[in-house]
Symmetry: C3
Subunit: 222 residues, 3 copies
């Protein structure tokens, strides 16, 4: 389960040591941690430990609760919209694999630092026949260059850290063991920004995309 | 006239050995070829042979058929929208000059590989007093960085392959004779993607721009 | 006060030798100069001399005329929209500090050349608790990559010329004394473009953002 630690205004949210998929309990724990960070006007680092940052949707849970898929999707998109416009500085420390909605979560942060030598950043949607929702597609396009969006969204390609940096999927790479600490140093000077101002700025910049993420999905055809 | 060849799932559409302008017959032949590629769920490479990839609109034909200009423009923009959202992987192998709507056709593909040492990528619109339509402007802006869009759309500058690569007008350059083959290798691993999924992804990503390209032009003032 | 000089079709608008803030008189002088440049179908270089390009809003004047803030803001945003869509080639020669609306003015030009070794490009909005208006946020996002927009809009960071070039906030850097001349050489080949065509192109490319800059601000709540 996600766990939150603070070091002088910089909060590190450890997403877990497994695949760190978005189970309902995991989503609730993440949201509670975000409440704490916002309340404190801190800066946020998210990271995993082990092989994965996050592999995204909890497919096993979905299979067991098909009737709850619409509300689950709403919750996931709400988290992406919340992180996108969170009124504190945010950075994803991508310690390992970031797949699908896990990669989208990283993209929703202000910045991304990725381990250089292991782990893949990947949108497998095209290969698993799960197209992006309009909100998810808008999120990715709002954060990446057109070339990076196309190369990552239409190919299913797995990008190692160095390739991800070259394409601009992430801002920096770091050696094993330095990913979370470099990420923390990136936002440490930004901790304590006025959260009303920063929140307004992010909402102005990303408002249209956040609204799409929060829009009701059209009902499936009967 | 355009001709289509297949090699193990990768279809190469040869646009011709001349200026490869968009005559009505040329447009029909290209569309018929696209039907074949989509039907086969193949990957698409377009290229010319000789000095030109394509010089765009068939100005001689337009001069001879002024009354058909509106329907001609509709057909051209439909081709750009179709390539932009084609449900197979696409790459333009820019073997030589790509001017005006010829450059737009290249931009509509997922990727672009350009010959390094000869040929120019150019939007001459500002110099020939033919402004971009809203759909064409949206297409270019949806595929290039802001800096690349401005530098190419407002100056009429002719970019050689190396400059085009530096600015991000194209993704890669290649030596003479390797342009089409490098382009083919780029999409070969992507041939066979589920075309419904890829088509949905591209339509989600580029839907607004495709709609602008397909929108009726406002009627000219009497 | 701003002063305009011409050299063979290239007009250099000197924004002043002080902080070059946007006082009402300064705005009027700039607009009168723009009239001259457009009338002549010239190319435009803007620059300051001394430590600053422009530090933006005239805060002292605002404090003395609080009741005129709405009309002042309208004038400032009109200038940004006008420069964004000016029907002649434009380049900002950023000789020194460009802060806030001064940096936005630079961003509104087609191109930016910045002094490499001194001066900062900075959006201090997050630190002075003055969020971007929707039009200003749209302007910056329309001209910069997503990564550059986030790094500059949410951090208050001051970017020297070299960093600004790496991030794409500016297109080129130059040594002291070569900033304005390099900028002039950049647009000299473009002077004399048909201003109706170039104006239509820029209005098509940037129309939505110009409209946001020109939209009435929502009235403040009583």
């Amino acid at each position: 389960m996600p766990a939150l630690h603070e070091d002088d205004g910089v909060f590190t949210l450890d997403l877990g040591d497994d695949e760190n998929r978005f189970s309902p309990d995991w989503l609730q724990a993440v949201n509670t941690s975000l409440d704490t960070v916002v309340e404190a006007s801190g800066a946020l680092v998210t990271t995993g430990h082990g092989k994965c940052y996050s592999n995204g949707l909890d497919l096993e849970w979905i299979v067991r609760h098909p009737e709850e898929l619409p509300s689950y999707r709403t919750e996931v998109q709400e988290l992406l919209a919340r992180v996108l416009t969170l009124p504190v500085p945010t950075v994803a420390a991508v310690n390992g694999h970031a797949f699908g909605a896990g990669a989208m979560l990283a993209v929703a942060h202000d910045f991304r630092v990725m381990r250089a030598d292991r782990g893949f950043f990947c949108f497998p949607e095209v290969d698993i026949d799960v197209p992006f929702t309009p909100g998810m597609a808008a999120l990715i396009q709002h954060k990446l260059t057109p070339a990076a969006a196309i190369a990552s969204m239409t190919t299913g390609r797995r990008f190692g850290g160095t390739q991800a940096r070259e394409l601009g999927l992430v801002d920096e790479t770091a050696a094993e063991g330095a990913v979370a600490s470099n990420a923390a140093e990136l936002v440490r000077p930004l901790a304590g920004k006025n959260r009303d101002t920063l929140g307004t700025i992010k909402t102005t910049v990303f408002g249209a995309t956040a609204a799409l993420l929060r829009a009701a999905e059209p009902a499936a055809q009967p």
